[in-house]
């Protein structure tokens, strides 16, 4: 099922085009990363999709329907900083959200338990640390057991421990089959939790694809042997290897798509070379990302 589809979505602020003709399609069950440097249009995109910004042109649909307040009730979202009534407790804040989403109040304790704030639920929001505020925001997004979860820079401003907590939480939620849209400028974050991603720069979509596919395309194999001279000469003759570089201690191979590491090993043994190192290295999204940004 298509959860979200945007068609030529555009947002202009006077002279600046914050988002230019974005076409995006997100299927049910994806953990979709919206990646891009600061100011690339990620938050603008989410603001449009959540009805707080007005599109200059183009349109979008949630669940194959025209967007409405009712479709937003099926979405849990946090946008930028957590926004709550500072003088109300966590429980009272969620009570307001519950009435808006028209869900049962028994959900309040359930989500507070998930985000670990149950014992602080009576304290005013303004007494919370940044990490707790962020967790409450995620809790609030989970309140109506939504089909789609939208998270905008969920680990922004958190300490390392908080970042790990939030990531674990996202993975935990993803396992339950929910569709997650995650905006981030942290590549590493998208790589760790997302199945698909798109790259934005200055309001333009540069790339869209699956994280695993993109990474497999770029995986490399490191090899070394006692006789490095012999290894080099054998490697040059293998058809499966598209390119290689000498790293001194070892050789870094890029192989043809479909070639497995054991194929390389077998070929080398047949040629009489015994390896002292054989390691498959998955490509990192970081190098891919920089490549995408540089290519365009």
């Amino acid at each position: 099922m298509t959860v979200l589809e945007t068609r030529s979505l555009t947002k202009k602020y006077r002279r600046i085009t914050a988002l230019h003709e974005l076409d995006l399609s997100i299927e049910s069950g994806m953990v979709f990363g919206l990646l891009g440097p600061n100011g690339s249009g990620k938050t603008t995109t989410l603001g449009l999709l959540l009805g707080v910004l007005q599109a200059t042109s183009g349109d979008f649909s949630w669940f194959d329907e025209a967007p409405s307040a009712d479709s937003r009730k099926r979405i849990g979202a946090i946008l930028e900083t957590p926004c709550f009534y500072p003088y109300l407790s966590a429980e009272e804040n969620l009570r307001v959200a519950c009435r808006i989403k028209e869900c049962h109040e028994s959900n309040i304790d359930r989500v507070l338990e998930i985000v670990g704030l149950l014992d602080r639920k009576k304290d005013p929001f303004k007494t919370y640390s940044l990490g707790m505020k962020q967790r409450l925001a995620i809790g609030s997004a989970l309140l109506s057991d939504p089909e789609v979860l939208i998270l905008d820079e969920p680990t922004n401003g958190l300490d390392p421990e908080g970042i790990v907590e939030i990531r674990d939480l996202i993975r935990y939620i993803a396992k339950s089959g929910k569709t997650i849209i995650l905006a981030s400028h942290l590549l590493d974050e998208v790589q760790k939790v997302c199945t698909h991603f798109a790259v934005l720069r200055r309001g333009e979509k540069l790339y869209q694809g699956g994280v695993i596919d993109t990474l497999i395309d770029q995986s490399t194999i490191d090899i070394a042997a006692a006789e490095m001279e012999e290894l080099r000469s054998v490697v040059q003759q293998l058809d499966e290897i598209t390119s290689w570089s000498d790293q001194g201690e070892f050789l870094k191979l890029t192989v043809k798509p479909g070639t497995r590491t054991e194929d390389i090993n077998r070929k080398l043994i047949e040629s009489g070379v015994i390896l002292s190192l054989l390691a498959e290295k998955p490509g990192s999204l970081e190098s891919q990302f920089l490549k995408i940004l540089n290519e365009s």
């Binding site: 603001g47 937003r72 946008l79 709550f84």
Partner: protein, 273 residues
């Protein structure tokens, strides 16, 4: 409707400034509306003399005049209710909870409705407060008693209520234009008690003002509400006053009410929050 009222109630019930202002408002209205007799006694003790008449026999609490007298006096304090509305709307912008409400699944028209329900509730409660004070003071001091007299002239109560609702939508509109509580509270207060009254006095009494400009005075946003319940007290000095609600004035106020809500709705829809 019930849901929207509940949402407003949940937002405000633990908000101290809301209760402080509400308390202040009730205190002002109760004290001023019920101390008319004390005031007249005070005048008497000071030796005030109205052509040989004892001030304490001036029948300010007599049915049916009591309703016009009280709604006129209470109308002065609607500016405090205005502050409550300003804070309630400005907070939604500054805490960015309006944005969060929309994200959570409240449409902007529902948001507007929830604020309008809140405004109406405040106005109706304020009117009920006046009804209660009126019945108590009337039963204590009115020279005419009896159910058949008590409710005569109570048409001023719904008129007063309409005036307060319209004034509060005006406060909401200004806050949506400039979502800064402090700035709007000062501006609203200055405009209501100084700027517009001075302007209308100037327009009405300065000899060089053109007639067409003068004729605009009853259409000013605060003045039109002020004229809904005409100033009653000159009647005790044997001057003629308007002791009824004019249809024309109601029409002007309803016009403002529609304008305030319409423009508020437009701002909510068009602005990026």
């Amino acid at each position: 409707m019930k849901r929207l009222l509940e949402i407003e109630w949940l937002k405000l019930r633990h908000y101290r400034p809301f209760w402080v202002l509400t308390g202040m408002y009730c205190l002002c209205v109760v004290l001023i509306c019920s101390s008319g007799m004390l005031f007249l006694r005070f005048l008497k003790n000071k030796g005030a003399d109205f052509d040989g008449i004892d001030p304490t026999i001036i029948p300010i609490y007599d049915y049916p005049d009591i309703w016009q007298n009280m709604t006129w006096v209470a109308s002065i304090f609607k500016v405090i209710l205005g502050f409550i509305v300003v804070i309630s709307v400005a907070n939604e912008a500054s805490y960015r909870t309006l944005r969060q409400n929309v994200i959570d699944g409240l449409s902007k028209s529902e948001f507007l409705k929830s604020k309008l329900i809140f405004i109406t509730a405040l106005s109706v409660l304020s009117t009920l407060l006046l009804l209660v004070i009126g019945l108590i003071m009337g039963s204590l001091y009115s020279h005419v008693q009896g159910v058949e007299y008590m409710f005569r002239g109570t048409a001023f109560l719904p008129a007063y209520c309409l005036g307060v609702i319209t004034y509060l939508t005006f406060a909401m509109l200004i806050t949506l234009l400039i979502p800064r509580a402090g700035v709007v509270i000062v501006a609203l207060f200055m405009y209501t008690v100084m700027f517009e009254p001075l302007l209308s006095v100037f327009l009405l009494h300065h000899p060089d003002v053109a007639d067409w400009l003068r004729s605009l005075v009853p259409f000013l946003p605060v003045r039109s509400i002020y004229d809904l319940v005409p100033f009653p007290f000159p009647r005790y000095f044997l001057m003629e006053i308007q002791d009824y609600i004019s249809f024309r004035q109601v029409a002007i106020v309803v016009g403002w009410l529609i304008f305030n809500i319409g423009i508020s709705s437009l701002i909510l829809q068009k602005k990026d929050w």
